[in-house]
């Protein structure tokens, strides 16, 4: 029984409830929205954001930010896209993309740790640089005519479930288990929660911050691969502005902007909510003129309601703790 109440208290659980609510409310207006097919499709559209949000969570947990994800996504999508277009194998394209992610992650990590540049500035600069590198690499052209069999890769279904979706969900669960159950996985939270504490505990703080940027880079380049296979063309500003959506998704899923708190499951749920709002608005058949206003307002409502709920549970928890202390003294 206590296990169930624990789950209900979880931040991620509330995000999940919001997601369900979104589907149910929209489903009332247009029953097609509740179809399995649409849920599958919504998940598919948010894969890109989920993968990015997982990487971002690592960085956010350590108390840093990674603004460069959109640039990494664009560059690795452009490079792997050209490789695929020119007849290269999926394997080569994937290796190239991941290498790009690793290199950009290492550069970010180097700047933040060795040069002591704030992660916001460092990754912002890298974002601009990667954008220009992409323009130079593609000669300022869109990458088009990506072979049809690559585009089919993102559409393989087994038992009605998209294979790519399945892989990503399993990946998220694995990462979550690593972060919360393994000793080293918990280092990330510890660093963001209290750096000095982490140092005195003997955690190699710098190394783990560097890891977080590399992980974020790899996630962004994987998102680039998903971008290529799902969308089939790469413009020179592919992924522009995506970093804000991803950070918003993380916050929506309960990842703290100052570090130490949050889970990848929450971030992934946040990503699904953010992307689902786009299609929800089409299903609700509201005039599209209002879309941005509505999705912005929904965001605020969700975050505020959640903060209120959290406030209440915290107050209750505090009361419980205080009572417990009093009892201890008496005993």
């Amino acid at each position: 029984m206590s296990r169930i109440t624990n789950i209900i208290k979880l931040r991620e659980f509330r995000t999940f409830i919001f997601l369900i609510l979104l589907f149910v409310v929209v489903g009332f207006i247009n029953s097609d929205y509740l179809s399995l097919q649409n849920i599958d499709k919504s998940l598919k559209s948010s894969l890109l954001y989920i993968v990015l949000a997982v990487g971002m969570t690592f960085v956010l947990l350590t108390g840093n930010l990674d603004i460069s994800v959109g640039g990494t996504l664009g560059l690795s999508a452009a490079v792997s896209g050209t490789i695929l277009r020119d007849g290269g194998s999926v394997f080569t394209a994937a290796i190239a993309a991941i290498l790009i992610g690793v290199v950009i992650g290492l550069i970010n990590g180097f700047g933040v740790i060795k040069l002591k540049i704030s992660s916001f500035i460092m990754t912002l600069a890298i974002l601009s640089i990667t954008r220009v590198v992409q323009v130079i690499y593609t000669d300022g052209k869109w990458v088009e005519n990506i072979p049809a069999n690559i585009k089919e890769l993102s559409n393989i279904d087994i038992f009605g479930i998209n294979v790519l979706t399945f892989i990503v969900i399993v990946g998220v669960v694995f990462v979550q288990v690593y972060l919360s159950k393994s000793r080293k996985g918990r280092y990330y939270n510890a660093i963001g929660d209290n750096v000095d504490g982490a140092i005195s505990l003997g955690i190699p703080v710098n190394r783990y911050i560097a890891y977080s940027f590399v992980i974020s880079g790899i996630c962004a380049s994987l998102a680039g691969l998903i971008f290529v296979s799902q969308i089939g063309f790469v413009s020179t500003n592919a992924g522009a502005g995506i970093e804000l959506t991803v950070i918003a998704a993380c916050v929506l899923g309960g990842v703290s902007l100052v570090g130490g708190i949050g889970t990848v499951v929450g971030a992934a749920l946040g990503a699904i909510i953010l992307t689902s709002i786009n299609s929800a608005l089409v299903y609700m058949k509201v005039p599209a003129f209002w879309n941005d206003t509505i999705s912005g307002s929904l965001l605020i409502i969700i975050v505020v309601v959640d903060a209120l709920l959290a406030f209440n549970t915290n107050k209750k928890a505090k009361k419980l703790r205080l009572n417990a202390r009093v009892l201890q003294k008496e005993a």
Binding site: N30, D32, Q37, N38, K41, S45, L48, R131, V135, T138, G140, K141, W142, E144, N145, A148, K151, N155, F227, Q230, I231, G232, F233, V234, S235, T236, N237, A238, A240, G241, I242, T275, N278, S279, V282, Y283, K285, P287, A288, F289, N291
Partner: protein, 358 residues
């Protein structure tokens, strides 16, 4: 003590700013001072909505070729992201560097007004192409087609694929955003045209993809799911159209199931035409448009007068006439402000798509 320090800093900063501002305005004046340049030294700054898009790159190709042929300078200047802030910055730097004319495809119908006014005040000729600004702030708009021409073209590209276009049909619009001036004006006229010519058609929805690939694909899929009985989806936007076609392909639909058409470059749509997802789509020859835009800008910068009703001879294109602003539905009717309509537009099908590369 700390307070004093910060005040001092502020004062130094203020002096510095004034100094910089004075410098830059001096520079502008000196650029103006030595008038009567050689025709060869005339510099036109050619500004796209965004760089990197095949459409605008191709417009630049045409602009550069024209500059080479006639003998003047064209500087291509843009940012990968098409925002008002970026374009304002580019216009300002054109003013400061002493350019003679600018030819711009605007991302906003009134966001650039202040910057353009500054340019005009500095004696710079302003021509717009592809997407217009408020006609008070430019001399000539090199138009790919009036809303009448393009709106009708969009509707007819869809209608010609229907067995009985006079029957009741369900139509959806899908383009970039409700604020983009050109696309909006085409759709507005197209809706009027539909009411007159195909009164039984119903517009079931109008959606926007923000020129964002991922969102466009998602919205495209959602349109197909929320309006399963839609007959035609018309996408006059270079990101929305390929994304919409991809969405249809993902659902295993082809041109027999749902008509998808609109405006995009042939390179981005060739695959979908070849595999039968779509039958046709249209565009104008953007190389011609870029060429005409910079030539007009150059011609004005030489000090020529151009009045509504006049024609100019454009190399390889023949005589092009300056029409009144009213053909685009504007109220502004100064006689030195008008519109040049590009002589022709193209409908791409399986038969001709391989003849073009942009």
């Amino acid at each position: 003590m700390g307070k004093f320090k910060s005040i001092k800093l502020l004062i130094i900063l203020a002096i510095f700013m004034v100094f910089v501002a004075a410098c830059s305005s001096n520079e502008g004046a000196s650029g103006d001072g030595d008038k009567k340049k050689d025709d060869k030294d005339i510099q036109v700054v050619f500004i796209p909505k965004m760089t990197g898009n095949a459409f605008f790159e191709s417009g630049n190709d045409g602009a550069q070729e024209m500059a080479k042929k006639v003998g003047f300078k064209v500087k291509y200047d843009g940012a990968p992201e098409g925002t008002v802030a970026n374009q304002v910055q580019i216009i300002n730097s054109a003013v400061n560097s002493g350019a003679d004319a600018i030819a711009i495809s605007s991302v906003s119908s009134d966001g650039l007004n202040q910057a353009l006014k500054k340019a005009l005040d500095a004696g710079i000729k302003v021509v717009t192409w592809d997407s217009d600004v408020d006609p008070k702030f430019r001399s000539v708009y090199v138009n790919q087609g009036t809303p009448e021409i393009l709106g009708e073209m969009l509707v007819e590209m869809a209608a010609e694929q229907m067995d009985n276009p006079d029957d009741a049909k369900k139509i959806a619009w899908f383009y970039s955003s409700p604020t983009v001036p050109d696309q909006n004006s085409w759709v507005e006229y197209a809706n009027k045209y539909i009411k007159e010519k195909y009164p039984k058609w119903e517009i079931v929805t109008t959606q926007f993809g923000d020129a964002n690939e991922q969102k466009s694909l998602q919205v495209g899929e959602s349109i197909l799911d929320s309006y399963p009985d839609v007959d035609a989806i018309i996408c006059p936007d270079s990101t929305a159209l390929p994304a919409m076609a991809q969405a249809a392909e993902n659902k295993g639909l082809n041109a027999e199931d749902v008509i998808i058409t609109g405006f995009a470059s042939p390179n981005s749509m060739r695959q979908f035409i070849e595999n039968g997802t779509i039958k046709n789509h249209g565009l104008w020859d953007v190389k011609d448009q870029g060429a005409l835009a910079v030539y007009t800008a150059y011609w004005l910068a030489k000090g020529n007068d151009l009045k509504v009703g006049d024609s100019i001879d454009v190399p390889d294109m023949g005589s092009v006439k300056l029409e009144a602003n009213s053909i685009q539905g504007y109220d502004y009717t100064a006689d030195d402000s008008g519109i040049m309509v590009l002589p022709e537009r193209i409908v791409f099908t399986k038969d001709n798509t391989n003849d073009y590369n942009f």
